[in-house]
């Protein structure tokens, strides 16, 4: 009997063997197998002691144990607020490039309230052109007046270089607090590229052509 101690598991007060496994303590409190068991350590903002199910611990009278799961939240990306054509293009972009996000434009871009920011998380970089990565995140701004306003320019990571350098018409800028290299596009009026720059899908494909050219364009 002297080997029994009184502990609290969750809000239940229970008697348990002085030496017990995490699984035994968890079961004594009526917890299932989900989550992690912690022994509450004194101190309001100090870390508690995690205890694995197969770990044998010495319990003392008055010990308090709790089981906790991670806190999870999220947000199904809601494309409904986007212009219909952009919504469709987002779906197409994901079919082509996989993970593609769209967000309100960060405030370190001038006139940020006029744009969305689309990021293709792993844009394929063509091999054999001197680029030092096989894929990289590529971002570009999309005007909120999508369809009538052109897209222009894209952002790549600072560390993505071609033969050790950045190309012509490229400059260092901050995007969402991170240094990026911005490539201008400047499609010529009346050309095919002008028309392509009206669509996020064709614009994203045009970025590949730019990578094909390497630096110097």
């Amino acid at each position: 009997m002297h080997d029994l101690v009184t502990i609290k598991v969750g809000s239940k007060t229970v008697k348990i063997s002085r030496i017990a496994t995490g699984a035994e303590i968890r079961a004594a409190g009526g917890y299932g197998s989900e989550g992690t068991l912690y022994r509450v350590v004194p101190g309001k903002k100090t870390a508690n002691e995690p205890i694995a199910d197969d770990q044998r611990v010495e319990c003392k009278n008055g010990d308090h144990f709790i089981v906790v799961i991670p806190a999870v939240g999220g947000n199904e990306e809601d494309l409904n607020g986007l212009p219909p054509s952009l919504r469709e293009d987002m779906i197409t972009l994901r079919e082509i490039f996989g993970s593609v996000t769209i967000m309100t434009c960060p405030a370190d871009v001038s006139n940020y309230d006029a744009f969305y920011l689309i990021t293709i998380e792993a844009y394929p970089i063509p091999p054999g052109k001197g680029w030092n990565m096989s894929n990289a995140p590529v971002s570009f701004l999309v005007p909120r007046k999508y369809g009538s306003a052109h897209l222009n320019g894209f952002y790549i990571p600072e560390e993505l270089t071609c033969n050790g350098q950045h190309g012509a018409y490229a400059g260092k800028v901050m995007l969402n607090g991170v240094p990026k290299i911005r490539y201008c596009w400047n499609p010529s009026p009346g050309t095919e590229t002008t028309l392509a720059a009206r669509s996020a899908v064709s614009f994203a494909e045009m970025i590949g052509q730019r990578f094909e050219l390497g630096v110097g364009q």
Binding site: K45, A71, G74, N75, E76, T104, N176
Partner: protein, 450 residues
């Protein structure tokens, strides 16, 4: 049950800054909350924050976050220590429109709730979602239910105090109040919204003597919705020179009755709750703890100390004012008017050194007496009282309608003899007792007298 949440402005700003720490990425902030219960109303009081360090995320991105169990266990431990409820706020950077709970939130909150309730069967779980456009959604899981109820009002307590009105609040559909002709000119100065703000406020006045009676009159003229008037005293002849609204026919009547009559005679239709007792009696305390703002207009340290405790514990802005005069053979030798705001998160009267312990014990030991210090009547002049009352009411308007341009919450001393104004502001004392009371609400016993 109608639910509200009060957020002291310093905690609200800290929470907001952390939620926006990385643009376009979901982030979470946890907190602990005390509460005030009154009938069908329950108001939560945010009193502490747990900002999630980057290494405590399992992962987070544009459309999700996952915080490690170890961090969540620390928040639960904090709630166990404070017998508090748990707040979890996060941002939805990608959603269109306004803030709203997602299907993911709907699915995971009840799961986490189970674990919170197994450790804390009495705790509420308050969930908030923020959108980069500034909107909020808020809801609460009561201990006995797995389905959440909307939080109707999110009030940021500070300068200015404002209601963020969650997107899921039923109060959002209330029609806008029209400004009646009687308040038209006032609204031109304070803003059209000021009428609605003042109309919905419940203001407590502790002490309806020389300063409190002026505050009472001004609040009623301004159109404050409800005034709780608390004073145990009856009217004496020596009060008549400065007690607003009192005449010789009122001798022997409770001061709160005259205050009610004065307020009722204004055009604003203020609802009055006169309570002829000390503030530490249950009938006064029950009404005062549900006020939106308090004015402390007493002439003694003991009730000032209790008013201060009430304000801090229940996160109610308090405006403390008083006039202290000393005379010698008919000559005024000393005359100071003092004004001190006690706003949630800021220094309290004890931090400011206003609660003199020697005077307190003198008063407590001689409590059966007249309430006048040392049994002597101090000098009193209505204009001195009115000066300080007007200052306090103007500061109240500044905090609640935001019509002023300054931000610091200054305590001031007005030297009546010298015509000078001194800044008497003090910083919050981290070792002050108020740190253990603040935002606890009903979770901590208030020192009531039976």
């Amino acid at each position: 049950m109608n639910y509200s949440l009060r957020l002291p402005i310093h905690l609200y700003q800290e929470m907001l800054k952390d939620l926006h720490r990385i643009h376009g990425v979901e982030q979470a902030v946890f907190g602990l909350a005390g509460e005030i219960s009154s009938g069908l109303d329950k108001t939560f009081l945010l009193r502490d924050l747990y900002l999630v360090p980057e290494d405590q995320y399992i992962s987070h991105g544009p459309s999700h976050f996952e915080v490690k169990e170890g961090f969540v266990s620390m928040v639960i431990k904090g709630a166990l220590i404070d017998t508090a409820s748990i707040v979890m706020a996060h941002i939805h950077p990608l959603s269109s429109g306004d803030a709203n709970f997602s299907g993911i939130d709907d699915g995971y909150e009840p799961k986490l709730l189970q674990y919170i309730q197994q450790a804390l069967p009495e705790a509420h779980f308050i969930c908030m979602v923020h959108h980069p456009n500034g909107t909020w959604a808020a809801r609460v899981y009561p201990p006995d239910r797995s389905r959440p109820a909307p939080i109707e009002n999110l009030t940021v307590m500070g300068r200015p105090t404002r209601n963020l009105l969650p997107t899921n609040s039923p109060a959002r559909n209330s029609p806008m109040d029209m400004v009646p002709e009687v308040f038209e000119r006032q609204a031109r100065a304070l803003g059209r919204e000021s009428y609605r703000i003042l109309r919905r406020l419940k203001v407590g006045i502790i002490g309806l003597g020389g300063t409190g009676s002026v505050v009472n009159q001004q609040l009623a003229h301004l159109g404050v919705g409800t005034i709780v008037q608390v004073d145990p005293d009856t009217i004496e002849e020596s009060n008549l020179s400065r007690l607003v609204g009192a005449g010789s026919r009122d001798l022997g009547k409770p001061k709160v009755d005259v205050a009610k009559r004065v307020a009722a005679n204004t055009a604003g239709g203020t609802h009055c709750i006169p309570i002829p007792c000390e503030l530490d009696k249950p009938e006064a305390f029950t009404e005062l703890k549900t006020c939106d703002v308090l004015f402390c207009c007493t002439d003694n340290v003991s009730s000032r100390r209790l008013a201060n405790r009430l304000a801090v514990q229940y996160q109610i802005p308090l405006f403390d004012l008083g006039v202290s005069l000393k005379s010698d053979n008919g000559m005024l030798r000393y005359g100071n008017g003092e004004f001190r705001p006690v706003l949630p998160g800021g220094p309290c009267l004890e931090c400011m050194g206003v609660i003199d312990q020697d005077t307190l014990i003198q008063e407590v030991q001689g409590l059966a007496g007249t309430g006048y210090l040392n049994g002597e009547r101090e000098p009193a002049v209505i204009s001195f009282n009115s000066l300080m009352a007007s200052l306090a009411v103007t500061e109240f308007l500044s905090v609640f309608t935001g019509f002023t341009n300054y931000e610091n919450d200054r305590a001031t001393i007005h030297s009546i003899l010298e015509g000078l104004i001194f800044d008497a502001s003090k910083a919050l004392d981290p070792d002050c007792d108020c740190q253990s009371w603040q935002g606890m609400g009903d979770k901590l016993d208030f020192p009531l007298r039976q």
